[in-house]
């Protein structure tokens, strides 16, 4: 007996529904597993106490400071470079040899694994530029890593500003730079900010590149040249070295909440942006 094509269709669609639901189920499973054990441990003290006994006791205060410091350095460096590149690609050049080379470089950079960024940051920033394991080395390494994300989203944002806006500005006698500064950038701002937030998310969650360039000291840093430990690195060390499963769960839960918050804000902005236009 040959199965009718309508039966095949029912079967195939059923399989796809199952696949889609298992994907979502696994995601919730991962989040649930960590949050169930970790959330009850998130006492306010956990956030404001320094880690003690290698992280067996105390809180995660210094790792929060480390995460913030590293992310701020990365964003401060990568945003102007990324937005500048996007402006050049969209406003100053049409499809040309130069723009093709730059796009190729950006695409390739986006695919480079984080451990390679870590190796690079280690020889270049830590050793060659003598910055040591520090906030600066780690932040600069992360900046190179999130640059492609920022370029890409900023380009999309700039591209979506209607061309008529520019024509109006030019017709009123505005120069190219005035047009960019007064017309293009303000209108592309929400999109650019979304890209920056995605970069923040990646910086917060990154481990491989950070551990090789910022070190893993959990002494609270006092300058840009202090080594630090981020929350993600702290979580990794707690879990992998089996120091304390309880603290690992708590740190993991804090990390997930942070990522959830960043992602929600980014999505909300993207949504508002899409519906304003």
């Amino acid at each position: 007996m040959k199965i009718s094509r309508h039966h095949t269709q029912g079967l195939a669609k059923g399989v796809i529904w199952v696949a889609a639901f298992s994907t979502l189920a696994v995601m919730f499973w991962i989040l649930y597993q960590v949050l169930r054990e970790g959330l009850p441990l998130l006492h306010p003290d956990f956030f404001i106490q320094a880690p003690r006994q290698m992280g067996r006791a105390g809180g995660i205060f210094s790792t929060i400071i480390g995460t913030i410091a590293l992310t701020v350095v990365a964003i401060v460096i990568a945003t102007p470079l990324g937005v500048g590149t996007a402006i050049f690609l969209q406003e100053y050049t049409r499809e040309s040899g130069v723009s093709r080379v730059i796009r190729f470089g950006t695409d390739c950079l986006a695919g480079v694994p984080s451990i390679i960024f870590g190796l690079f940051g280690f020889v270049f920033f830590v050793i060659f530029l003598r910055m040591g394991w520090s906030i600066l080395s780690g932040g600069l390494t992360l900046a190179t890593m999130i640059l492609p994300t920022i370029i890409c989203t900023a380009e999309e944002a700039i591209k979506s500003v209607p061309y008529t806006y520019r024509e109006v500005s030019f017709a009123l006698g505005g120069t190219r730079w005035q047009t960019i500064r007064k017309m293009v950038l303000p209108n592309a701002f929400p999109g650019i900010l979304t890209g920056v937030l995605l970069g923040v998310g990646r910086s917060v969650g990154e481990t491989a590149a950070v551990i090789l360039t910022a070190g893993s000291s959990f002494i609270t840093p006092d300058s840009l040249f202090s080594p630090i430990r981020t929350m993600a690195v702290h979580f990794y060390i707690l879990a992998r070295e089996g120091i304390s499963m309880e603290m690992a769960y708590a740190t993991g839960a804090a990390l997930i909440l942070l990522i959830l918050a960043i992602n929600t804000v980014a999505n909300w902005m993207m949504y508002r942006y899409a519906h304003k236009a």
Binding site: I16, F88, I259, L260
Partner: protein, 281 residues
């Protein structure tokens, strides 16, 4: 030179930053790694199966094999699921529901890799150890976790390429009497092939490049793996585990591992770019 000209030149300079970073990365990693490959010999570095840094024995063949199996495994898990999810989002549910689900898929991509590794370690590893035997820390566990990790890449790029198809393809097929599924399977998926293939290659790049999650669940043995239940080490985890304490030739050997990884990734990226460009033409 006018102010406008100066600005244009400075934007050009900024725009060259990404390509110069790529060049710097290549330069510094090669400068550290190539001398060791030269010293050991390319053949015995790539095909040697003994990695004993303390005895000056640097063969990364087991890591190449490890990376290969874990990546292949992740594709077996991730590709069918990912493409099915893309079809689900584009064709099977109303756009409003897809709009709610899409941020969730993005969240899957935003979860830090250490969280995936941790989940694999506390959920999958004991499960595999108890039901299938072996150490649990295995290629199987690694493949499953990586398969999930590459889903967002595969789903979003495949979905984009399905969405970019002209509506007439679907309308044409349906009006010829094809069922919805026949339209998807015989018309839409083949037409979006280049984008889907590009998404798979990019997912593969992500799988090969993943480090921390794999350190946590692969078990990190340096022997050649002999089944999907045996523990393994990949190119990335080799670097990640030993970089903390390596020095001298040993450190250079890790950079040399990075050189091999760099070439593999650049090859895959270029392939993805060529394929997706061909699709657009």
């Amino acid at each position: 030179m006018s102010k406008e000209k100066i600005l244009e030149k400075s934007f050009l300079l900024i725009a060259l930053s990404s390509i110069s970073i790529l060049a710097l990365i290549a330069f510094f990693i090669f400068q550290q790694g190539i001398p060791l490959i030269w010293k050991v010999g390319l053949n015995s570095f790539l095909l040697g199966d003994r990695w004993f840094p303390s005895k000056e024995s640097f063969g990364i063949f087991p890591m190449i094999v490890g990376s290969f199996w874990v990546t292949l495994g992740s594709l077996i898990v991730g590709v069918p699921l990912g493409v099915a999810c893309a079809v689900f989002l584009c064709e099977l549910i109303p756009p409003t529901i897809a709009m709610i689900l899409r941020p969730m898929i993005q969240l899957l991509g935003a979860i830090p890799s250490v969280i995936y590794g941790f989940w694999g370690l506390i959920v999958l590893v004991p499960l595999i150890r108890n039901s299938l035997g072996g150490p649990g820390l295995s290629i199987l566990a690694g493949s499953l976790v990586l398969g999930i990790m590459i889903l967002p890449t595969i789903i979003s790029i495949s979905e984009d390429s399905l969405r970019a198809l002209p509506r007439t393809y679907k309308e044409g097929a349906l009006s010829l009497g094809a069922t919805h599924w026949q339209t998807i399977w015989r018309v839409l998926l083949p037409a979006a092939r280049s984008g889907i293939v590009a998404s798979i290659i990019l997912g593969m790049g992500r799988a090969i490049g993943e480090t921390m999650a794999m350190i946590m669940i692969l078990g990190n043995a340096t022997q050649l793996p002999n089944s999907i239940l045996s523990s393994a080490r990949t190119l990335t985890t080799n670097i990640g585990i030993e970089m903390g304490y390596a020095s001298g030739d040993h450190r250079q050997a890790l950079f040399a591992t990075g050189v091999v990884l760099f070439f593999i990734i650049m090859g895959l990226n270029s392939l993805a770019l060529i394929i997706s460009r061909k699709g657009r033409a």
